[in-house]
């Protein structure tokens, strides 16, 4: 009898897990404008061009207002059942993991952990939806007010999926942190309402993702213009995309014989077996298709997060 109960409980929990789409991660970061205004940008020489990048670590360690805004947004989102990934904790965790990984060796041969330059480059704080926050304190005589702007940007499609902005009521007496907390609180419901519309669209029309297809330059002679029964490989991939996207929705934004960029690709939220689908799985399906005859192509899939993947044709 106990066994039956256990089996039923397992089935019910499995169904509950299968019925859920992959939840996007959200993280609040200060906008580049805010970092520039407050002196948290760092410059580096990128092949002769001065490139500025924000130094989040210093900003988080030294700016109390930023910490207040991030924690206020975080607590309001948690109340709405959507806890955020914390930027400060992510930065610390990455540093700790890097330090730990550098000293891990195997017991038998003393081998270190395998790590490619790509692995190192990818070890950064990231999320599926970036909440970019910016504010300025306006002063008119003794009166102060806050102009606040919060934008939710899909990390893979680069589209703004939610936003809330406005200038609060001027105050003679309130301190800046109080005005800031008020600005966050007053604008949060409009922001989450737009985020909800984005999620509703996602459930109705599938997840919008980006897929890159590239070719290894290995001298095999196979590229995206290679023909199979008179049809170029790029057209074959187009047909596969049309058959496997929700309502055949995708845009071939760019492409040559060496690469294709598919944007606004609507992939189903669930696999045929009911489990949640992500772009990595979608790209692997394309890889399996190209591996079969008559193409017999070896492919490599590079996962770039929940909403972006790269398929490289030619080798692993």
């Amino acid at each position: 009898m106990k066994k039956y109960f256990l089996a039923i409980a397992l089935c019910v929990s499995a169904l509950a897990v299968f019925g859920q789409a992959k939840k996007p991660t959200l993280m609040v970061v200060p906008s580049d404008v805010w970092c520039t205004d407050n002196g948290y940008m760092e410059g580096y020489d990128n092949q002769g061009t001065l490139t500025l990048i924000p130094n989040y670590k210093i900003a988080l360690q030294t700016n109390a207002e930023l910490e207040l805004v991030i924690s206020k947004i975080g607590s309001l989102m948690q109340e709405r059942g959507f806890p955020l990934k914390d930027l400060s904790a992510s930065v610390k965790s990455i540093e700790r993991m890097s330090a730990e990984n550098s000293v891990i060796t195997s017991k038998t041969s003393g081998a270190e952990l395998a790590e490619s330059p790509l692995d190192q480059l990818r070890r950064t704080a990231k999320a599926d939806i970036i909440l970019e926050v910016n504010w300025t304190v306006n002063s008119t005589g003794p009166k102060k007010s806050i102009t606040y702007n919060l934008r939710g940007i899909d990390a893979y499609t680069s589209k703004q999926v939610a936003g809330a902005q406005g200038t609060g009521a001027p105050s003679f007496s309130a301190e800046t942190p109080v005005l800031l907390a008020e600005a966050v609180q007053d604008n949060m419901d409009n922001f989450t309402s737009q985020l909800q519309s984005h999620f509703d669209d996602l459930f109705e029309n599938g997840r919008e993702v980006t897929l890159d297809v590239q070719v290894f330059d290995n001298g095999s002679g196979v590229d995206l213009e290679t023909e199979y029964d008179g049809t170029e490989l790029t057209e074959i991939i187009d047909d596969w995309m049309a058959q496997n996207t929700v309502n055949h929705r995708f845009s071939k934004t760019d492409g040559t014989e060496n690469f294709i960029l598919f944007e606004q690709v609507r992939i189903p939220l669930y696999r045929p077996n009911g489990m949640a689908m992500d772009t990595d799985y979608f790209a692997r399906e394309l890889m399996r298709f190209l591996r079969k005859p008559p193409y017999n192509l070896t492919c490599k899939v590079v996962n770039r997060g929940l909403g972006r993947a790269l398929v490289i044709i030619g080798e692993k």
Partner: protein, 161 residues
């Protein structure tokens, strides 16, 4: 005499019916205006609700009911630094789709009243033959949203994930 009494009873019952119909018109037709009245404490909205009536003494429960209805279905605009808010419900059609729920929710002494508190004293303006009564109401929007999510009226942000 019997006839006169009977006629009087009929007249009185007609007047009573008309009066209650009028009350219903004002509350159930949702004739009110709502606007932002400032930044509320965490988890609440501060709104000014203008209700209409033939007499200036509009019951406070009616004004609270209008405020909660406005937060759910109308949203409100704001100016001079006051932030406009969208309605909680995805569309006004939700009122009809969940008619059974809202009938009990907005009924006399219904649960909607527990989310609203009147702040300050009413402001009365005579407009033509009727009165426009404005009052500031604090609506506990976080608790309201949670309860509406629980009842399946409003979608939770994390639903489906």
């Amino acid at each position: 005499m019997k006839f006169v009494l009977c006629l009087l009873t009929l007249c009185l019952s007609y007047v009573y019916t008309q009066a209650s119909e009028l009350k219903k018109d004002n509350t159930e037709d949702w004739r009110y205006d709502i606007e932002c009245a400032g930044s509320g404490s965490q988890g609440s909205y501060l709104v000014r609700v203008w209700s209409y009536g033939k007499k200036p003494n509009i019951p406070s429960d009616d004004m609270k009911r209008n405020a909660v209805h406005g937060v759910i279905f109308k949203g409100f605009s704001g100016d001079r630094g006051c932030t406009s808010q969208k309605p909680m419900a995805a569309s006004p059609a939700v009122m009809e789709e969940k008619a059974d729920f809202f009938k009990a929710f907005f009924a006399d002494g219904g649960t909607c009243l527990k989310y609203a508190d009147i702040v300050g004293t009413p402001e009365i303006i005579k407009v033509g033959k009727e009165y426009k009564v404005g009052v500031i109401v604090s609506v506990s929007k976080d608790v309201l949203r949670k309860d509406l999510e629980g009842a399946g009226v409003v979608k939770s942000l994390s639903s489906g994930f």
